[in-house]
Amino acid sequence: MALKQWILSGLLASTCLVSIAAAGPIENYSPVTTERLKNPEPGNWMHYRRTYDGQGYSPLDQINTSNVKNLTPAWTFSTGVVEGHQAPPIINNGVMFVSTPEGQVIALNAKTGDEYWRYKRQLPEDLFQLHPTNRGVGLWEDKLYLATTDDHLVALDAKTGKVVWDTKVQDYKKGQYLTLMPLVVDGKVIVGGSGGEFGIRGYIVAYDANTGKELWRTFTIPGPGEPGHDTWSGDDWKTGGAPAWMTGTYDVDTRTVYWGTGNAAPWPGETHPGDNLYSTSVLALDPDSGKMKSYFQYHQNDSWDWDEVDAPMLIDLQRDGRTIKSLVHPGRNAIFWVLERKPEGIKYVAGWPFVYTNVWKSIDPNGKPIADPAHKPGIGKRVEFCPSLWGGKDWPSAAYSQKTGLVYVPANENFCGGFTGEKVPLVAGKLWLGTKPEDIGLTPRPGATHFGELQAWDPATGKKAWSHNFPKSQLFGSVTATAGDLVFVGGTNDRMFRAFHAKTGELLWEQKTNSGIVGMPIAYEVDGTQYIAVQSGWGVDAQRIQDALVGKVPGLENNVPQGGVVWVFAVKK
C-alpha cells in the first residue's frame, strides 16, 4: 500500500463509525441513474426538493384534502442527536436515508422504520459548529454523498454505509464548513461552502461522483481580471463572503445549474464598497465546467446579512400572454422575485415586497432595488431595518404546486432588527461580522398581531391568494406541496406539524411532535401506500429567533425540547 493510501485509510478508520443493524445490509437497492434523477418516480424523493426544478412538489394524491384528517403516525425513529434537524428524508424505492447534525446518516426501511445501517462521522474535537446541522444526502448509482461540518465531502456505499471516498474540501480551522445537500448532475457531485461569517471567499465546487476528484471550482467572488472583479475594492474580494451553502436547482433542458449566494462580509456595506458581485445573487453555471453563464444580483452591497442562498424555483409561468421560463425566489431581502431564463441570460421580470420592509424605496426597471440610506447599517451608528436580518424568508424553502399554480412561502412578518457596524480586523477562523453579536437586535413591530406567516402567492399575477398567521411564533421551516391539494409545514415553536388546504389556506390537520420542526417535509410511496415524513428536531436559527424574542412577545413559548425524531405519517385505513 502506498504511503498516501495508507494515510487515507487510517484517516477514514478514525473519522467514521458504521453500525449495521439487524435489518441491514440493504438488498435489491435501486441504482440511481441520470434518467431517474431527471424524472424521479412519483413515489420517490431523491433531490433536495424532490425534482431538479426545486419546486418541492409531490404528484402523490392518495393523501388529500378529504382524508388528511385521518393522518396518523405510522412509525417514528429517534436519531439520538440534538440540535436542528433540517434535512428532508431521502427516498429511493423503499429505502429512506436521513442525515442529522454531527454528520450522521441513517438508512431505514421506509415502510417499517427498521434500521439498515448508521454512519456516524467522528468530528474533530476542536471543531466549532456555528450551524450544527445537515440538509441531506445526494444519490448517484449505488452511492450517497454527505457534506460535513468539518468540511469534507464523503461518499458512502448506499447498501452498507461504508465509506467509498472522503475528500477534504477546505480547512475547517479557517471557518470553512458544509451543511448543504449535495446536488448530483450527470455523475458530478456539486457543493458550495458555508462560512460567510468567517471572512471566506465563497465557491461552488464539483467532484467526480465515483472518485471524489475535484473537477472544477468556481469562486462566487471574481478574482483579478475576471468579470465583476471591479465591483470590489482593494483586497476585499479575498474575504468578502458570498458563501453558497444551499443546494442549487438545475434546468435539465438547457443544462444549467442555478445557485444562490450569500451576503458580503463583514456585514456593514461601508466595509466593502462596491456592488460586490456575485454576493446575494443567483448564478447560472455550466455543470460540466463550472463556467458562469449568467447571473442576477438581488441586491447590491449587502449590509443586512441577507443571504440569498435558497436557489430559485424553476417554474413555467403564463404571464402577459406567453409562457415564461421563470426563476422564482422569495428573497430574504423581502422581495418576491420573478426572473426569466432567457437564452441570453437571466432577466428581471417582476418584484414586489411580500412582507413589510422599510429598506427598499423602489425597484428600477432592471430589477435593481434602491435602498433607503436611513435603514442601511453603517460604521459607528445603530441602524434599524425591517425585515430583521433573518429576512422575510430565510433559507427554509418555499414550494410550488403545479395544480394550484401558487407558491407557498414560509414568511416572517413584523420582525425588524438592527446593529451598530464596526471595523474589525479579520483573524482566520474567527467570527467576522462587523458588529458585536451582543448588539444585534430583533424587534417586533409596534402593534404586530403575528409573526410567522404561511403565504400563498400567484407568481404570474403577483396576487396573494391566502395567508395563515401565527400570533406567537416565527415560521422557520420548509414547505412542501402535494397533488392532494395539501401544503405541509412545521416551523413553529409549538412543536406542531400542519397540513393546509392548498387552495384556501384552511388548516386541515395538525399533530404535536416531540420537538419543533425545522426539517423539510416530504411525500413518498411504498407498496401502494403514501406516506408523509419529516424530521422534528429544533435548534439553530429557529431557536435563536426565539431566544431573541424572550420578554418581547407576551406568551411566547421558549421551552421547545431538543432531540431529533423522524416522523412518518399515513392515513389510517
Partner: protein, 195 residues
Amino acid sequence: MCQDPTRRALILTALATGACLASSSPSIAEEDLPGSNERPQKGDVLVFAEGDRAGEVIKPQDLQAGGPPVRAWPKDPKTSVVRKGSRLNEVLVVKLEPTELDEETRSRAAGGVVAYSAICVHTGCPITAWVKAAGGDKDVFKCVCHNSEYDPRQSAQVIFGPAPRRLPALPLAPDDGPLTVAATFIGKVGAQQAR
C-alpha cells in the same frame, strides 16, 4: 447569516478587536512545539492570550473584580511552552467576590479567581460574552453561537440554552502569586458527540 440578537450589550472581554472573539489559530510552529497541544497540567501558569500583555503571566491583581473574564493560555514554566497548539486549551479566567462562589467552586479558586475552559460544550464555539443572565441580574458567561449561558459562581453550570453540561473547571492553586494550575480540567473539554 444570522446571529443572535440579545438584549444586553455589556461586552466582555479584552478582545482588542472588540468583536466576537475566538481562540487563536495556532501557527504551525506553535503546534510543533512539544507540549503545546497537551491540556493544562498541574504546575502550569496562566498567561494572557491576547491584548497588550499577551504572553505575560497573570496574577490575581491583574484582574478586575466582577469581570469581565480574561482569556488565557496555560504555560509550562519549565519549558516556557505556551500550550496554544490546540484551541481546546484556551481558558477563561474571572475574578469574583469569594462569598458569591459556591463551596465546590471556591475549592478550586485562587481567592475569588476561577478558571474554566473557554470552549462551549454545546458545539464547540468559543465563549465570548459576559452579560446579564437571561433569567437574572448577574453577569455570566454566554456563548453567542446558540445562547448557552454558564454561571461561573456555580461550577459554570448551564443556566440557559442548549449546552448539555457545565464547562470543565480548571482548578487553581490557592495562592496570591501567579495563577497556577492545581489539577487538570475537570470533565471533557469541548463538544461531545451523540453516541
